[in-house]
């Protein structure tokens, strides 16, 4: 596994896709600094309200889309140059190859999340927020968003491995992500839609919900259930795929 990581990291580092980790955090930083993030009546919860505002731009569309873009690119350079057959005729296990691809994308999403909080801290510093930073709220928000991305990464990895075109997996991703804008308004359906979970789990409730995930039990069933389903079917497909 270590060797695979090393090799995958080399391939990733030399491509420019990892630069995309900066896009969404920078946009949410700008949003956080803008006039939209001025609520005089929320003096005591400045950190939380800033986090909530920035989450809207970051997690409704960008985060789900990024899972597809990263998965697509990480498979693309294998598809284009015939990398799969070279890689899989080396003494490496298919399961590990697949798992490593998912780990790499998960790490890219994790870096995006870290940059996102860095943005939040910059907003806080510039606007002079109080120094008692609500760490647990921020941590659960960022971590929850990351966990909610894992099923999406698994599905996108599955379709990216299956289809050698880059456009098809991306289209799948967009088709599932765009409805977020509508479903976000439905209290009934929103907990069950996997593509919306990164947003729901990142949105802080208030200081009172201290540290606890804002999600309901249904949401966790949805997140972990879809993770198991997508991960399992992807593994099953890839271990059988004829190269």
């Amino acid at each position: 596994m270590g060797k695979l990581f090393h090799s995958e990291f080399l391939k990733l580092r030399k491509s420019s896709i990892w630069l995309l980790i900066f896009v969404s955090p920078i946009l949410s930083l700008l949003l956080g600094l803008s006039e939209l993030n001025k609520f005089p009546d929320l003096e005591r919860e400045q950190w939380i309200s800033a986090l909530g505002i920035m989450t809207i731009s970051h997690a409704v569309l960008f985060l789900p889309l990024l899972t597809g873009v990263f998965s697509g690119f990480i498979c693309r350079y294998e598809h284009v140059g015939g990398g799969w057959k070279q890689l899989l005729s080396l003494p490496v296990s298919r399961c590990n190859v697949y798992f490593m691809k998912i780990i790499i994308v998960s790490l890219l999403i994790a870096l995006t999340q870290l940059l996102f909080i860095t943005g939040l801290f910059i907003v806080g510093y510039v606007n002079g927020y109080p120094t008692d930073i609500p760490w647990s709220v921020i941590t659960t928000s960022v971590l929850g968003g990351w966990i909610a991305c894992l099923p999406l990464i698994s599905l996108q990895m599955f379709v990216s491995v299956a289809w050698s075109s880059f456009a098809a997996p991306f289209a799948v991703n967009v088709i599932f992500t765009i409805p977020n804008i509508l479903i976000i308004n439905s209290e009934k359906f929103s907990p069950f839609y996997p593509w919306l979970q990164p947003f729901l789990l990142m949105t802080p409730n208030s200081v009172e919900s201290f540290g606890a995930f804002s999600g309901s039990a249904a949401q966790f069933v949805v997140v972990f259930g879809s993770l198991m389903l997508f991960l399992g079917s992807g593994f099953w497909y890839f271990s059988r795929k004829e190269i």
């Binding site: 695979l4 030399k14 284009v80 140059g81 015939g82 990398g83 005729s89 080396l90 003494p91 004829e242």
Partner: protein, 304 residues
């Protein structure tokens, strides 16, 4: 009998209803350069993909180094270098990084990269992105990749595709030298007999999924010996007359065919026929080239 490196038993691969590879019994022994020959679409690449575990056989088994590929894939693949169909590369990496990405997985020493680069003469191009390489350079990079892990078995699918004449000669010499210097066994596929002819010691000819010839190249050459064809007026009685004097000839379509072993014997046969009042219309030499034998074997509909 020397060690058998690759042995397949009734290897079959079915796509839809068609047997793309049909009951192939491949046998490659240590130190051989095995030429795997067949027209396009005969099943060469499919067979090779199964040898590397990239595709699953529908039926039959594969043993490499005496181990079953289904059960001990990793320990087999550790000792195998391969190049399948067209070279694999990562366009955004340079040649050195491409090799590095594979070297890490093989746990080979770093010095090996420079070594294989110089073997395929890409040392000067090592820092250029592979995206800009010509097909021939990518092909050489592919061969370098195959050599990285100090393989005991090299599986090369059409390795001289896209190489210029001097490149072909270089690669050919390289391939020929490897069994002698390192005891490597090589299986090399091609649709060109002339290419196999200049490298291989053993040949397997596959056509429409079936192995139709598998033996040493010299056995194949034997079939190309010339024969003397005699056209006479009463072929059948001429054949009997010759037989009664102890000369075996072949009677085919009212022509007599004699093995072209010695001039003396031909002269005696003709003399005998003349003395027995046969009219000899023609006496001519019929020679088959290797290419013709190959075409005969695969049937002309196979095409080249």
């Amino acid at each position: 009998m020397s060690n058998v490196i690759i042995e397949t038993n009734k290897l079959t691969k079915t796509f839809g209803k068609k047997n793309v590879v049909d009951n192939v019994d491949l046998k490659v022994r240590q130190g051989e350069i095995y030429g795997f020959l067949g027209p396009n679409g005969a099943g060469k690449t499919t067979t090779i993909r199964m040898l590397l575990g990239l595709a699953r056989p529908t039926k039959g088994s594969i043993h490499i180094f005496g181990k079953d590929i289904q059960q001990e894939k990793y320990s087999i693949l550790k000792k195998v270098g391969s190049l399948v169909e067209y070279p694999s590369y990562y366009g955004h990496l340079n040649a050195y990084e491409n090799l590095e990405a594979v070297r890490i997985l093989l746990d080979a020493p770093k010095s090996k990269i420079d070594e294989v680069l110089s073997i395929v003469r890409l040392t000067k191009e090592a820092k250029r992105p592979v995206r800009g390489f010509s097909l021939g350079m990518k092909q050489r990079l592919g061969i370098a990749t195959a050599l990285l892990g100090n393989p005991e078995l090299l599986i090369l699918d059409e390795p001289t595709n896209g190489l210029d004449p001097s490149g072909i000669i270089e690669i050919r010499e390289l391939i020929k030298s490897m069994p002698k210097e390192h005891g490597i066994t090589i299986i090399i596929s091609s649709h060109l007999l002339s290419e196999i002819d200049q490298m291989a010691t053993q040949v397997g000819i596959i056509s429409q999924g079936q192995m139709i010839f598998q033996d040493s190249l010299s056995k194949l050459r034997e079939r190309s010996k010339s024969k003397i064809k005699l056209t006479v007026n009463r072929a059948e009685s001429a054949w009997k007359t010759l037989l009664s004097h102890g000369y075996t000839t072949e009677l085919m379509q009212k022509n007599l065919f004699i093995n072209n072993d010695s001039d003396d014997q031909i002269a005696k046969i003709i003399k005998l026929l003349v003395q027995n009042d046969f009219s000899i219309y023609r006496a001519e030499e019929e020679k088959k080239s290797l290419e013709e034998i190959f075409l005969d074997l695969i049937g002309l509909e196979g095409g080249l």
